[in-house]
């Protein structure tokens, strides 16, 4: 019989308790147990970045973090950051700049871009590319994604001043 552990996690501001198998990744837990399917599962070996989520304030790979390791932690997914409007400028810029084609990589791109803009409000294009180097877009729409992040940064800067 597989072992089960009880965990308490705050997901998008809501505290919840669940029983999970230790082998369950955090992204599988969010998708299958919590029903938040915005975080995507791609390579499941830490390469593609589609599962990027925010754990205790920093972005992590949802496929390289176990749900049991998130016990007591605060998790934010693309759903929560959409509802709170924290990434509204990024989402708008992604739409305007055509920065999503199939959309599979988009939640991870948004979470990563949001982390970049918190560290660096006015990143250069090379800095954006380097920060996003761990997020793959298999439609290869990188130019438009970098455009969108650059445009969101300048818009947010304008709004903040």
């Amino acid at each position: 019989m597989d072992p089960v552990r009880e965990i308490t996690v705050t997901v998008n501001g809501e505290r919840l308790t669940a029983r999970v198998e230790p082998r369950k990744s955090l992204v599988d837990f969010l998708r299958e147990d919590v029903g938040l399917t915005g975080s995507h599962v791609g390579c499941e070996q830490g390469i593609c970045g589609a599962c990027t989520i925010r754990l205790d304030g920093t972005i992590v790979r949802g496929c390289l973090t176990l749900a049991v390791q998130a016990d007591g932690a605060e998790v934010w997914t693309v759903e929560g950051l959409s509802d709170s409007a924290e990434i509204a400028a990024l989402q708008e810029a992604f739409q305007e700049r055509n920065a999503l084609q199939c959309g599979y990589c988009t939640p991870g791109m948004l979470l990563t871009a949001a982390a970049l803009l918190r560290d660096n409000a006015a990143p250069t294009r090379p800095q954006i590319r380097e920060y996003l180097s761990g997020n793959y877009c298999r439609c290869t729409g990188y130019q438009a994604i970098v455009d969108a992040i650059e445009s969101a940064a300048s818009q947010m800067k304008g709004a903040g001043s």
């Binding site: 992590v60 390289l64 176990l66």
Partner: protein
């Protein structure tokens, strides 16, 4: 879910951790950041019966600088190490190297000690700790022992750690006057595994370099010192001609074999380019 089933324990003291490791022996795997282990579990390259999560052990946490030694707890993440001004002053090589490790989301969880204990042949820190002549502090049931970095890496993913032991911290000599460090890496894309990487550390007296250590990663089963190239440069002023001569000896120091990242001949060529670039940076830095 991709991994085979396993149990999970998160000890809150070193004693508890040693109990768990003793009770489960080879069926247990230690996890800290898990950025290498979880990928191998997902691919079922590894199927332990229990993970012992040491991330709650406060004794393995934190960075502190004394006058002679910088102590880096094993659980320090790459992000924490990059952000540490103390570490940047005392051992600037580590930040120069850490920015080459994977991507922000992985650097936020992956740990300094985990990278050393995992001993991936293409990892940056093993070459750095050898170049810096650091000392690794290993904790076990019967106390702790200290191992020089040069003695720690035995082979492919093999280290001096014995069953039931944990890497607790690393002590790095604080940068002294005249010493400089350099780091360079070639990878296919930012954050990919190194095709070749070079960690260099030495003392400059005017233009002359002394006590130089050139340590390569990604070209062998463990970090490898370029002894013959070092001998060419020892006690001499760094000039273009001298570096070219040192580079010509690299083929005797390094014998890279083909791997997924690059062929052996390419790795040797890139290692030579790194030697020129890193030494030129170091000689130019004042």
């Amino acid at each position: 879910m991709k991994p085979a089933p396993f149990d999970y324990a998160k000890p809150s003291t070193l004693e508890e951790a040693f109990d768990l490791l003793e009770a489960h022996g080879e069926d247990a795997r230690v996890v800290a950041g898990g950025q290498s282990l979880l990928a191998t579990l997902n691919m079922r390259l590894s199927a332990p019966s229990i993970l012992v999560d040491i991330s709650g052990l406060e004794a393995l946490r934190g960075i502190s600088a004394g006058s002679n030694v910088l102590r880096i707890g094993a659980l320090t993440t790459h992000t924490e190490l990059i952000a540490s001004e103390e570490a940047a002053r005392a051992a600037p090589l580590l930040r120069k190297a850490a920015v080459h490790i994977a991507h922000p989301a992985i650097r936020n969880r992956g740990t300094f000690g985990g990278s050393l204990a995992h001993a991936d042949p293409a990892a940056e820190y093993p070459a750095c700790v050898v170049a810096l002549d650091a000392t690794l502090e290993i904790s076990g049931r019967d106390g702790s022992r200290r191992v020089a970095a040069a003695e720690f890496f035995h082979g492919l993913y093999e280290t001096d750690l014995k069953p039931g032991e944990l890497l607790a911290a690393v002590e790095v000599p604080v940068l002294q006057d005249g010493f400089r460090s350099g780091f360079g890496e070639f990878a296919r894309r930012a954050g990919d595994f190194a095709m070749s990487a070079l960690a260099a550390h030495g003392r400059f007296d005017g233009d002359e370099v002394h006590d130089l250590r050139l340590v390569y990663a990604g070209v062998d089963i463990r970090p490898v010192r370029a002894n013959r190239a070092e001998a060419v440069l020892a006690g001499k002023a760094i000039t273009r001609e001298l570096v070219a001569e040192a580079r010509s000896r690299l083929a005797e120091d390094l014998n890279p074999t083909d791997d997924l990242q690059a062929g052996g001949a390419t790795k040797l060529l890139l290692s030579g380019v790194l030697l020129e670039r890193v030494l030129s940076d170091m000689a130019g830095a004042r």
